[in-house]
């Protein structure tokens, strides 16, 4: 399956990009995406267990993914 990963704010700055595609095996979970991102240059500035949303809903590491899902890494929010 192919999923889209979105990065925001300080996370996007740390990794030098705001969006990428990942090819994952069948029955992939959020943990697989977190591990893939953690292996990228600059990822050491992300927390070890970042908040993640799948298709705009907060998810946990065991959440199963489907082809076409959008996985977003959510830094601490600061709107207003």
């Amino acid at each position: 399956m192919t999923v889209t990963v979105r990065l925001f704010a300080s996370y996007a700055e740390s990794l030098g990009r705001s969006e990428l595609s990942l090819d994952l095996g069948a029955s992939a979970t959020v943990a697989d995406v977190v591990n893939a991102i953690a292996a990228m240059p600059g990822a050491s500035r992300l927390p070890p267990a970042p908040l993640v949303a799948v298709n705009c809903s907060y998810a946990v590491t065991t959440t199963n993914l489907s082809d076409g899902d959008e996985i977003a890494f959510i830094p601490p929010v600061a709107g207003g």
Partner: protein
């Protein structure tokens, strides 16, 4: 009328007020967040707001739904602006209309507090000394 939007143009408060109002509502409560000239003692030139727009709008719509259930508001509009804002510019506007003033003001506080705590929006402060810093105001944790 209920609406929650991320916008990139300047926020038109008068238009939002008209949008939220209705003839059955005698009370309109409005909150405007503006870029302050100082933060934690540092001189600020502006703030660059960014958002995960789809999720922020989803969360803000959920907050309006909660406020509607809790306070029976008749109208509610949230607009949050993104992009680089100068000192004094409006970053967030919340408008609530209700037949009675206390409910309008209670709902306003709820919506403002929850939006700041939960909407997927970030700010990069630009300081007068040329440096920039990501502001960590919320926990980012789901409820």
């Amino acid at each position: 009328m209920m609406r929650a939007s991320i916008v990139s143009e300047p926020i038109d408060v008068a238009s939002l007020t008209r949008e939220a109002a209705s003839d059955s509502c005698g009370a309109t409560a409005v909150f405007l967040g503006t870029v302050r000239s100082t933060n934690d003692g540092r001189e600020v030139n502006g703030i660059e707001y960014s958002a995960y727009e789809e999720m922020a709008e989803k969360e803000m719509r959920a907050i309006l739904g909660e406020a509607s259930a809790k306070f029976v508001i008749r109208g509610g509009v949230i607009e949050h602006r993104v992009g680089v804002l100068k000192v004094g510019e409006i970053s967030i506007a919340v408008v609530v209309a209700h037949p009675h003033r206390h409910y309008a003001m209670d709902a306003l506080r709820y919506i403002v507090d929850q939006t700041k705590a939960r909407a997927t929006i970030w700010k990069l402060e630009h300081y007068a000394d040329g440096t920039r810093e990501w502001v960590n105001a919320g926990s980012g944790a789901p409820r």
